[in-house]
C-alpha cells in the first residue's frame, strides 16, 4: 500500500520531519512520545499514498503533498467575533467547543453546566492530565497502518477533543465541535484529534464542524476515534465547509460493542480536495451503524467519501446512503467497502449511492465493494448516476416556476432526501439552509420547501 518515495517526496517528508523534531522538543518526553515516534516512522517509510494504491485510485494526493505547510499550531491567532459567532449554531442550545487554526479557544468555548461525571476537555489538556484514561484508548480504535494521513495525525496531535461519557448518561445538548481556520500568514496544517468514549447505555449527539473563511489555503488532517460500549448510542454529524482552497482529510474510526448504535450524518460542501473516511468495526452482536452522507461540489472541487465496515459478529447491521450533487468540472468519489467476516451470520448490510450530475464536465466514480465470508447474510448495494428529470422540470415550470429556480429546487429536493434521515430538527434545518445557500436562486427556493 505504500507510495513509492522519490526525491521530491523526500523533500516533502523532510519538511514534516523538521516540524516533528521541533514539536518533540516542545513536548519533551511525555508518555505519548513513543506513539508519536512510531507513527512518524510509519509515515516516513510509507510516504503519501498515490493512485497506484487501490484505496486512493481516484484521488490523487499530489495537490496536498506538493505544498509546504507549517505543522505547529499558532496559539496566538486572534479570532474575530463576528466570524466565530456566525459559525456556531445560534438557535440550538449546544455545548460549544471552538478551535481556531487547530488550537483550543477557551474564549469561544462553553463547557459549563455539564454533569460532573462527564468529561469534555481539549486534547492538549487531556494529554497532560488524563494519561491513564487516554493510554487505554488513544490510537487503539484506529488501524494505524491503514493510512499515512492517520499516522501523520498521530505524530502531530496538538489539540482536539476528549469526551468520556459514563454509563447510563444521556447528554441531551449536542456537543458542537468547531474547527475554524482563519487566514494565516503562511499555509498551515492542523491535525485535530478527537477521542470519544461512550459508556454502557450512554447517549450523545456530537457535531464536528470544519469551517474555513474565504479562500485561505490550509490543510486539515483530522482523526476521530470513538468507542461505544454495550448499548451506547452516538449520533455524529460532520459538516465540512472548509475554504475552497483548503485540503481536508478526515477519518472517523468507530468500534461498536454489543447492541450499540452509531449514526453518522455527513455533509461535505467545501474544500478543494477532500477525503472523508469512515472505518467501522461492528464488534458485538446487535451493533448497528447508519451512515448518511451528502456531498455537493462545483468548479474544480474533488470530494471522496470512503467507508469501510467490518461485520465481525452475527446480527450486526450497516446501512449506508450517500448522495452527490456535482457541478462544474468537479469530481466525486464514493467507495463503500463492506467486509462480512466468517461467522458473522445473519448480518444485514445495505448500501446506496445516488448521484446527480449537473454539468457535462463533472464526474463521479462510485465503487461498492463487498467481501463476504459468511453464507447467511443480507447484503444489497446500488449506485445511480443521473441528471435532473425533464418531466419534473416541465411540471414546475408549467406552474410558473422559473427554469433556474426549478433546477435549484429539484437539486435541493434530491439532496434533501439524505437530510430527511436526520431526526434532530434544528440540525436538519440548519443543514438544509446550508445546502440551499449553495444553490442559485437560493432565496426563491425557500418559498417552496
Amino acid at each position: 500500500m505504500t507510495g513509492f518515495i522519490n526525491k521530491k517526496m523526500k523533500d516533502i517528508i523532510d519538511n514534516y520531519a523538521a516540524d516533528f523534531t521541533e514539536l518533540q522538543s516542545i513536548r519533551k518526553n511525555d508518555w505519548f512520545s513513543k506513539h508519536r515516534k512510531s507513527a512518524f516512522n510509519f509515515f516516513k517509510e510509507s510516504g503519501f499514498p498515490n493512485t497506484k494504491n487501490e484505496d486512493w485510485k481516484y484521488t490523487d494526493t499530489k495537490p496536498i503533498t506538493k505544498n509546504i505547510f507549517s505543522n505547529i499550531s499558532n496559539t496566538n491567532i486572534v479570532a474575530r467575533d463576528n466570524e466565530v459567532n456566525e459559525i456556531i449554531f445560534k438557535d440550538l442550545e449546544c455545548i460549544n467547543l471552538v478551535f481556531i487554526n487547530g488550537a483550543y479557544s477557551e474564549e469561544y468555548s462553553d463547557i459549563k453546566n455539564i454533569s460532573d461525571k462527564v468529561i469534555i476537555k481539549n486534547m492538549a489538556n487531556a494529554l497532560v492530565n488524563d494519561e491513564n484514561l487516554l493510554k487505554e484508548h488513544l490510537t487503539q480504535h484506529i488501524d494505524q497502518d491503514s493510512s499515512s494521513f492517520t499516522a501523520l495525525n498521530t505524530a502531530f496531535i496538538q489539540d482536539g477533543i476528549y469526551i468520556n461519557i459514563p454509563e447510563n448518561i444521556d447528554i441531551e445538548r449536542p456537543i458542537n465541535i468547531n474547527y475554524i481556520s482563519m487566514d494565516g500568514s503562511n499555509a498551515f496544517a492542523t491535525h485535530p484529534r478527537n477521542l470519544i468514549l461512550m459508556g454502557e447505555n450512554s447517549n450523545a449527539t456530537i457535531i464536528e464542524n470544519y469551517v474555513g473563511n474565504g479562500d485561505s489555503n490550509y490543510f486539515t488532517n483530522s482523526v476521530t476515534e470513538t468507542f461505544l460500549s454495550q448499548g451506547a448510542m452516538l449520533k455524529h454529524y460532520k459538516i465540512q465547509q472548509e475554504s475552497f482552497n483548503a485540503f481536508h482529510i478526515g477519518s472517523l474510526n468507530t468500534s461498536l460493542s454489543k447492541d450499540s448504535r452509531f449514526e453518522s450524518h455527513s455533509v461535505s460542501i467545501g474544500g478543494a480536495l477532500v477525503r472523508n473516511n469512515i472505518n467501522a468495526n461492528l464488534n458485538g452482536e446487535g451493533a448497528e451503524i447508519i451512515m448518511n452522507g451528502l456531498y455537493m461540489t462545483d468548479n474544480a472541487q474533488h470530494v471522496d467519501n470512503h467507508t469501510h465496515v467490518n461485520h465481525l459478529k452475527p446480527h450486526t447491521h450497516s446501512h449506508q446512503n450517500y448522495r452527490g450533487v456535482l457541478n462544474g468540472k468537479s469530481r466525486g468519489v464514493f467507495n463503500g467497502k463492506v467486509v462480512v467476516h466468517p461467522k458473522a451470520q445473519k448480518i444485514e448490510a445495505y448500501q446506496n449511492n445516488a448521484n446527480l450530475l449537473l454539468s457535462d464536465d463533472s464526474e463521479i466514480d462510485t465503487k461498492p465493494e463487498l467481501e463476504i465470508y459468511a453464507d447467511d447474510v443480507k447484503c444489497t448495494h446500488g449506485a445511480t448516476v443521473g441528471q435532473l428529470d425533464d418531466d419534473m422540470l416541465f411540471y414546475l415550470r408549467s406552474r410558473a416556476v422559473d427554469e433556474q429556480t426549478a433546477r435549484s429546487l429539484l437539486t435541493y429536493a434530491f439532496a434533501d432526501e439524505v437530510l430527511n434521515e436526520i431526526n434532530f430538527k434544528e440540525i436538519k434545518n440548519k443543514l438544509e439552509q446550508l445546502v440551499i445557500s449553495r444553490l442559485p436562486d437560493s432565496s426563491l427556493i425557500r418559498e417552496y420547501v
Partner: protein, 245 residues
C-alpha cells in the same frame, strides 16, 4: 383567445401534428377526441411549452401574441394551465407551497397584490371543497404517494386556485372511477365562465356526459378531420373512430 394555424410538429423527425387548425374563444369548451397516437397529448404539451417538439410549420397565437416564443413559466403566468395526464411526483417540493408561489407569480404578473399565508389558506379551504381534496395531501410533496385519482383531483384543485384563462385538461378522466370523475367534472363546471376557455383532451366520451362541450373535434393522424357539437361525441362513442375515415 387561441389560434392554431396549420401547425406541423415533429419529435426527433417523427411527424406528429400535420396541419392542425383550431380556434378557441373565451368562454368556450372544446373537446379534442381521437384514437391513441393521434397527437392529442402532443397538442396539449405544445400549448404548455414542453421541450422536445420541433414546430416545422404554422403558428400558435394566444391573446394575439406568439405563444410558441414563450417559456412554460411565462405561459403559466399569462394564464395557460395544463392539467397533466400523468402528474409527476416531485419528492421534496411541498404541494401547497408550490401552489402558493405559482398563484403569487401569476398575481404579480397581473399586477395584483400577492396573497399572504392567511388569505391563501382561506382560498385553499374554499377550493378544496370543490374537488373534495383530502387535507393531508396539501402538505405532502407534490403528488408523492397520491393515488391516480388523487393526482387528477390535485390538478383540478390547482386549476381552481390558479384560475387560468386557458385550461387544457389532458385525459383528466383516464384512470378515474365514476365518483371521482363526477367530482372532477363538477370542479371544471364550476370554473366555467365567459372569460375562461377549456380544451378537454380525451379518448372517451364519458367525461362529456358531465362536462358539456360547445365543440367536439376529432383528431386523427395529426389533424382535425371532423368538428361538430356535443352530438358528435355521442356518435363517436357508438360507432368508434373508424367510420370517419
Amino acid at each position: 383567445m387561441l389560434n392554431i394555424k396549420d401547425l406541423y410538429t415533429a419529435v426527433e423527425n417523427k411527424k406528429i401534428l400535420e396541419g392542425l387548425n383550431l380556434s378557441v374563444n373565451a368562454g368556450e369548451v372544446h373537446a379534442i377526441m381521437g384514437p391513441n397516437g393521434s397527437g392529442k397529448s402532443t397538442l396539449a404539451n405544445i400549448l404548455a411549452g414542453k421541450d422536445g417538439y420541433q414546430v416545422t410549420q404554422g403558428s400558435v397565437t394566444y391573446e394575439d401574441k406568439n405563444l410558441l416564443e414563450l417559456s412554460p413559466e411565462e405561459r403559466a403566468r399569462k394564464g395557460v394551465f395544463l392539467a397533466f395526464q400523468y402528474p409527476v411526483e416531485i419528492p421534496g417540493v411541498n404541494n401547497i407551497y408550490l401552489l402558493k408561489a405559482a398563484l403569487n407569480a401569476i398575481r404579480k404578473h397581473k399586477s395584483e397584490p400577492e396573497l399572504d399565508a392567511m388569505e391563501f389558506m382561506s382560498l385553499v379551504k374554499e377550493k378544496m371543497k370543490l374537488v373534495q381534496m383530502n387535507e393531508d395531501l396539501l402538505t405532502r410533496s407534490v403528488n408523492e404517494g397520491f393515488s391516480g385519482g388523487e393526482k387528477k383531483r390535485n390538478e383540478v384543485f390547482q386549476m381552481a386556485i390558479l384560475e387560468p384563462k386557458l385550461a387544457i385538461l389532458d385525459e383528466t378522466d383516464s384512470g378515474l372511477d365514476i365518483d371521482a370523475l363526477k367530482i372532477v367534472a363538477e370542479g371544471v363546471n364550476s370554473l366555467r365562465n365567459k372569460e375562461r376557455a377549456f380544451i378537454l383532451v380525451t379518448h372517451y366520451q364519458r367525461l362529456l356526459n358531465y362536462i358539456k362541450p360547445d365543440y367536439v373535434h376529432v383528431l386523427s393522424k395529426g389533424k382535425i378531420i371532423k368538428s361538430g357539437g356535443p352530438e358528435l361525441a355521442i356518435e363517436l362513442e357508438e360507432k368508434g373512430y373508424d367510420w370517419i375515415h
